[in-house]
Subunit: 352 residues, 2 copies
């Protein structure tokens, strides 16, 4: 059960190089104050011996503390952002072992002012790193510019903006996901029309993070199904009557094959409507593996979901920062596109 240790330690290096641990440590961390010859000797010995610092001894000794803050929209249990929050919690657990605390701060995604407020709070007490889910383009750019100026690394999750000082991005390839969605919706089916159900508020010009997705969808349709009619239906997700009325209206004229799609995570709203109206043969495709959406797959009211592990995304974002803060590791890849998972009733039960 017990093997033997063949790891080389900082002491071995020091001895071999004829210097003290202190000096080795200094060259290891570029703390200057080392004569060129010592430095060189140490470096050579490190190379020769294949010395790898013991990570854990290191954090044990240096009782450095870091704080990472994650700025995401407010959430309630079961909705999209709660998945993200869960991922953050998970990595917070691990990170705390490295002396890194992770803090979640939320804002109202329909209230720019609340976002500004949160940003200011973060800027007032600068953390070591920031994870941000950008919903307001201009304000976010403004925010990250200040972070950048203060040398605080920030990583985007979910969607990213067009600046390029970000440390990393973790999210779905949005355009592609729309393209994929269209294929799943329409391929091999000659649909008469497709209802694109959208949130009323999105009309008001708040930056809509699903816009690229919609673009991908439309491009596919234009290229492959030019005869299918695409109809936008704007609903107020909080008003069942509104939903009923708008959808009734949209369905009214149609006789042939119809598809319904939503580009955010709320396709369960449509599922509920279809269930109520007992419609048959409508093809329903949506995004994200919320519990409600999965239920809709199981009951047959949604056919396919395109999902992503947004919890893992969030965890990966935090971890990337932690690795960088603790170990000075550069990020492996700047843009990390999550895989797009296609879920139907035969595989959805095995999706975490």
């Amino acid at each position: 059960m017990v093997g033997k240790d063949n790891r080389v330690t900082i002491n071995d290096v020091a001895k071999m190089a004829g210097v003290s641990k202190g000096t080795v440590d200094r060259v290891l961390h570029d703390r200057g104050e080392v004569s060129p010859k010592s430095r060189e000797k140490v470096l050579k010995v490190i190379e020769e011996l294949g010395y790898k610092p013991n990570f854990y001894a290191s954090i044990l000794a240096s009782q450095k503390k870091h704080r990472i803050v994650c700025v995401i929209p407010e959430y309630v249990s079961g909705d999209f952002w709660s998945l993200t929050a869960r991922g953050v919690e998970e990595s917070a657990e691990t990170s705390s072992r490295f002396g890194v605390t992770v803090e979640v701060v939320t804002y109202d995604q329909y209230d720019v002012e609340s976002f500004r407020h949160v940003c200011n709070r973060v800027l007032a007490d600068l953390p070591s790193g920031v994870v941000v889910a950008p919903m307001f383009r201009v304000e976010t750019l403004n925010f990250v510019k200040k972070l950048d100026a203060s040398g605080v690394p920030y990583v985007y999750i979910d969607s990213k903006l067009e600046d390029d000082s970000y440390f990393a991005y973790f999210g779905m390839p949005m355009f592609q996901s729309g393209y994929l969605c269209a294929d799943i919706m329409a391929d091999g089916r000659s649909l008469e029309k497709i209802l694109v159900v959208r949130i009323e508020r999105d009309k008001m010009g708040y930056s809509d993070p699903t816009v690229a997705r919609r673009t991908g969808f439309m491009e596919y349709m234009a290229a492959h199904c030019p005869d299918t009619q695409i109809v936008n239906v704007f609903i107020d997700p909080k008003s069942p009557e509104d939903i009923r009325r708008k959808l009734d209206e949209a369905f009214a004229g149609a006789s042939g094959n119809i598809g319904v799609v939503m580009f955010n995570s709320r396709i369960h709203i449509v599922a509920e409507y279809i269930r109520e109206r007992r419609f048959q043969g409508v093809r329903v495709v949506g995004f994200d593996a919320l519990e409600k959406n999965l239920d809709a797959i199981r009951s047959g009211h949604v056919h396919v979901l395109i999902a992503q592990h947004s919890d893992r995304q969030a965890a990966a974002a935090v971890n990337a920062l932690v690795d960088n803060l603790i170990h000075g590791e550069p990020v492996h890849k700047k843009d990390n596109y999550t895989q797009m998972d296609i879920l139907n009733r035969f595989n959805c039960d095995y999706y975490m």
Copy 2:
């Protein structure tokens, strides 16, 4: 950048309980030799203070070493088992930091004797834990029985057997994957016949880990497409001529829609044949995201792959053992079914 530490240490506990660190450590690790009253007091203080041992300090101090061995089939770069091996390597990297070495030993999956040999070697020098991919039913059961008798935990990956002393299992739900595969192959398409391409050697009664998958496939077909003809085609994967001849034969009679499927990871063989023959409109579905298979998706010769992250599976298997060995953590879930990923040309490029 620097926060403050609010972690409670073993010293705090000792002080509060009016005992020494030694005693606290003893109750922490059930090393006996502690009076009931001390134990109780310590336990109470731990509870009150919410003390959590510092994992890394612990490994640093106790220089325990562990060895885990992974028994998997021989592999060459790019094939199925090389993915598994890669996952093992990855977790080996991490585990080495915990004083755990991970060793891969391989056997010829077509030679029982080689498997027996490897098992004996493992048994001769017992490791702390074993990960095994079972290809030979009887011999594996025999092997794990001995491990069990010696108190060595073992975890199955890829497929599992019907004993229940295993510590954990990580793999795809095989039956379900066949069912899913059939749906993807046949749903909404009235196929005249489906060629199930199999490896010649599988006829010889070696235990075939894909049998459950095939069963799932057949059950779906029987239930949903009773009119589709299912034809088994046995090929020698090493002989291009054999493949050509057998498939030519199988395709010869057909006029309508045809599907081709393989239940192991080698659908690229079929893709290559189809490419060569320039067949159009044949529906090809297979398993596993080998580079060759992904290429076949990109070139349009395979339509869908059902994939799993077998590298992550392997890593998870090793990690479960490490957690148990180092931290005494019980396994969270005994049976860990991997998600089944549906890959087509629109999402395959984002699959790691």
